[in-house]
């Protein structure tokens, strides 16, 4: 039976209860309970025990080198007292150049008197890769970096044509013999015509060979017999350039077909666009055929031209849709699957699935991860962030460049990836993980939280990757790359990348980057796993040209990591095309697709020599006089 209480007592008790409850609420709202305080304090104390371990990581050394301060400390005591732009050698050079140009041309140029004051925070130097080269952020702007320009140029000026159809036409319809001798003669002629040298008509305008010294063509074939008959200068030596296992796989895939990879002059492609590449190559190839095989008559020549322009040709990029219209061979049209083929970083590694590397030793697994990071950071990030989003789409905004450069910084990304490799080597024991979400999510959560915690532990790393897009780019790449390498599935890789950004990162920090996640990482999920044409497609066939996504900075790395990681995860020698894979192994290319970050670093210190110079036809003069000499022409009367 309940206690009988008088009305007064009941009211008194009620008031006391209310007071007690209100007090509890107030404690909960305004103060920390004793238990909470203990929990926080204990955890904080426990976390201090791991500081020494953190100090042993590569990332600690890298951050120390960059910032010259304690990497784990979240206060920068010199902030606002760093001397503004004067702390940067490059900025000071820009100021001087801006003044000189303004005086010379009579119009203002670069000036720090406008806009906001620069350099109140530290304008940190950036070590690229692990080559021991440190550059300034400005040096990685695509306008300042000749290697990034050459990367762009070398892809856009490449087109690959198949000769089998042409040879069949010659033999069946014209009755010509195709022999090693004729092929060699044709290739010699082709080196001449690729530089716009005339072969069929007498009175033609020709091009100064110094301007087109970067124009050539080379044969790609998988047949040793054909290669034996060819002049060694005219084909790409697969056996020498690739690991024997990879070379064998590539040669088997290419077979007896004969392909020719054309490098159109950088200057020609720049004057026109990527679309000019196919036209130039087809024209000069047809002329080489006409000359080498003594052809005449409209029917066979027009059919040859058709074969080279349309029927048997691989362009590096498809044309884009209406609102972003550009011709073929432009960055926006490159299928995602071609990017791992363009990247050459893994080509000297043994051909086996990534998990088998893990069984060998930690160093081998780390090496494979580092190679993936090299390719994604040096090529995919540049193509997507710097060139496509930052240049083509945004009109030269510098922000995208900084996002891309976050993928360049050595010692930061590799640290996370190699830690993971070591961990995987312990637990996976050489077995591919099934591409099942319920299994993968466990591994993925571990990786995602590891990267998240790394940013939390190292305020200097958070400052280096100062924008959400920078962190998104790294998070997505690590999530996608690791999952793809473990499963061999690019779809699972992309799925993991989207999850890492849109769920793990977003819910942990309540922030992502550059407003793109609602439209790509969430919406992209159903699309990426549906192969019905109106919904999705194979991951390798996606690209900037893929209409289901609205891409934002940082996602290019993720997509490339999914595809490149899956290729290495499966133990494949190529991703989408063995011919493209071989084409970019060509040692004549100015940009080294095997060591992209090295090229970019060299360009940052002005030691990379690009193609496409015009000095052969410009006056010898001081850099300031270039473009201003035209004034003297105005004084000459007609």
């Amino acid at each position: 039976m309940g206690e009988e209480l008088s009305e007064e007592e009941r009211i008194k008790r009620f008031v006391e209860e209310r007071k007690k409850k209100a007090g509890e609420e107030r404690t909960k709202e305004s103060g920390m309970s004793a238990r909470e305080r203990d929990y926080t304090r204990e955890l904080y104390r426990a976390s201090q025990k791991f500081i020494d371990i953190e100090k042993g990581r590569d990332i600690y050394q890298t951050m120390k080198e960059i910032w010259g301060a304690e990497p784990l400390y979240e206060v920068d005591e010199k902030m606002y007292h760093r001397g503004g732009y004067r702390q940067s050698i490059r900025k000071k050079e820009f100021i001087d150049a801006g003044k000189q140009i303004a005086i010379k041309r009579g119009l203002p140029s670069y000036s720090r008197a406008v806009g906001l004051p620069v350099g109140q925070r530290m304008l940190e130097p950036m070590p690229v890769g692990k080559w021991g080269i440190t550059i300034e952020q400005d040096d990685s702007h695509h306008m300042n970096n000749t290697a990034i320009q050459q990367l762009n140029d070398d892809i856009k000026r490449t087109v690959i044509m198949n000769l089998d159809l042409a040879h069949r036409m010659l033999q069946v319809r014209v009755g010509k013999e195709v022999t090693p001798e004729t092929l060699n003669f044709y290739m010699e002629t082709l080196q001449h015509t690729m530089g716009a040298g005339a072969v069929a008509q007498e009175h033609m305008n020709e091009v100064n060979p110094y301007l087109v010294k970067d124009a050539w063509a080379k044969i790609i074939t998988g047949s040793d017999e054909i290669m034996d008959g060819l002049d060694q200068r005219y084909y790409i030596h697969i056996d020498e350039l690739f690991h024997p296992d990879r070379a064998k796989a590539l040669k088997e895939a290419i077979g007896d077909s004969i392909w020719v990879v054309f490098r159109v002059p950088t200057l020609a492609m720049r004057m026109g666009d990527g679309e000019c590449t196919g036209r130039w190559a087809a024209m000069q190839n047809t002329m080489a055929f006409i000359s080498a095989y003594q052809l005449s008559g409209e029917h066979v020549i027009s059919d040859l031209a058709y074969a080279f322009k349309h029927a048997r040709v691989i362009h590096m990029g498809d044309k884009l849709w209406g609102s972003r219209v550009r011709g073929r061979n432009e960055i926006g049209g490159i299928p995602d699957g071609f990017i791992p083929d363009i990247i050459q970083c893994e080509r000297d590694l043994p051909l086996m699935p990534y998990v088998e590397y893990m069984t060998q030793d930690d160093a081998a697994a780390s090496k494979a991860m580092t190679r993936m990071s090299e390719g994604i950071g040096g090529i995919a990030a540049m193509l997507d962030n710097t060139l496509w989003l930052g240049f083509y789409m945004s009109g030269g905004i510098g922000f995208s460049n900084t996002v891309a450069t976050s993928a360049l910084s050595g010692g930061a990304n590799e640290d996370v990836l190699s830690e993971f490799s070591n961990l995987g080597a312990k637990y996976l024991r050489g077995k591919l993980i099934p591409a099942k979400w319920d299994i993968m999510k466990v591994m993925l959560n571990m990786v995602a939280t590891y990267v998240i915690e790394t940013y939390e532990k190292f305020p200097t790393l958070a400052e280096l990757h100062w924008g959400g897009a920078h962190k998104t780019s790294i998070m997505g790449t690590v999530g996608a790359g690791v999952s793809a390498m473990l499963t061999g599935s690019s779809t699972m890789g992309l799925w993991a990348g989207n999850y890492t950004i849109a769920s793990a990162m977003k819910e942990g920090w309540l922030r992502t980057g550059w407003a793109g996640q609602e439209i790509q990482d969430h919406m992209g999920m159903p699309y990426l796993c549906s192969f019905r044409p109106e919904e999705g497609n194979l991951t390798e066939m996606h690209g900037e040209n893929y209409p289901m996504h609205s891409f934002s900075a940082g996602h290019g790395n993720q997509r490339a990591a999914a595809n490149y990681g899956a290729m290495m995860g499966r133990g494949s020698a190529w991703c989408l095309s063995p011919v493209v894979k071989v084409a970019f192994a060509d040692p004549h290319l100015a940009f080294d697709f095997r060591r992209p970050r090295y090229c970019i670093a060299k360009a940052g210190i002005k030691e990379f020599m690009p193609d496409g110079e015009r000095t052969a036809i410009t006056p010898a003069c001081d850099i300031l006089d270039r473009g201003i000499l035209k004034d003297t022409m105005k004084e000459i009367p007609f």
Binding site: L43, Q120, G467, Y499, L510, R511, W514, P526, S530
Partner: protein, 264 residues
Amino acid sequence: MAEKTKSEYVPNIYPGKDTVSARRKKLWDKSRPLLKYRSIAEDDITQLLSHRAVRSAYVSVHPPLEELIEPYDPIKHIVVPTPGTRAGDRIRFIQMSDSFHLPSIAPFGRQRLYFSRFRGIDTVVYSGREILEMRERDLEKATKMLLETEIFNPGRSALKGITVHGHSLRLDENGLMFDARRRYIYDKDSGEVVYIKDQMGNVLDVPVPVGPPLSEEDCKKLCLTYSWDTQPYKARTELFEMMSRSTKMRVMAGFNPEMINESM
């Protein structure tokens, strides 16, 4: 048979029972008032926003709704206009930036709070900033709440209408978030953060103090994001299960909702 009692739907707001989840549940639940930490005069708020001169009349872009004759629209009978809309105010904005280091609120946290607690808004989330657009007088009212309550840490949240860079940088010597335009400084005499410029970086005639920065302990207590040394993220099993499930459902059943089942 007794009639089944109707149970009222109570939104869970957010998964998990840890401190950070509890914070999120509170901030995004409009039925729970936010604690007031400081008072900022309305005129000061007008100055900080820099959209109109202090005590000047609101500029309107259309006549008051009562004076407008508009075509019939049933939605207009359902939705009660906000005061600013009724008066025809301009749409103005406030942009807030929150530090990466133990913030009392963060961009997606703001977005969910705005959607939950305000009406007549447009908002965009970025990594380090969050813009909120409203009719001018509604915005001023909302700003008062944003600056006076527990979600504002003067040291690690800031009004940055332009040049928002700095959320992810290390803190300055006084523990303040970086601001390239130096809109706010730490007054060592009063121990308060003082705005010497408005949100667009124009110098104010009279500086506006917004209170002292929260102590490190308060920062940890009020932090809305997980952190490795205070509230570790990786231990949040319920949250990860929820995220994992929503991801799987989105992928597997995005085009095939009929595939959703209990096992997912």
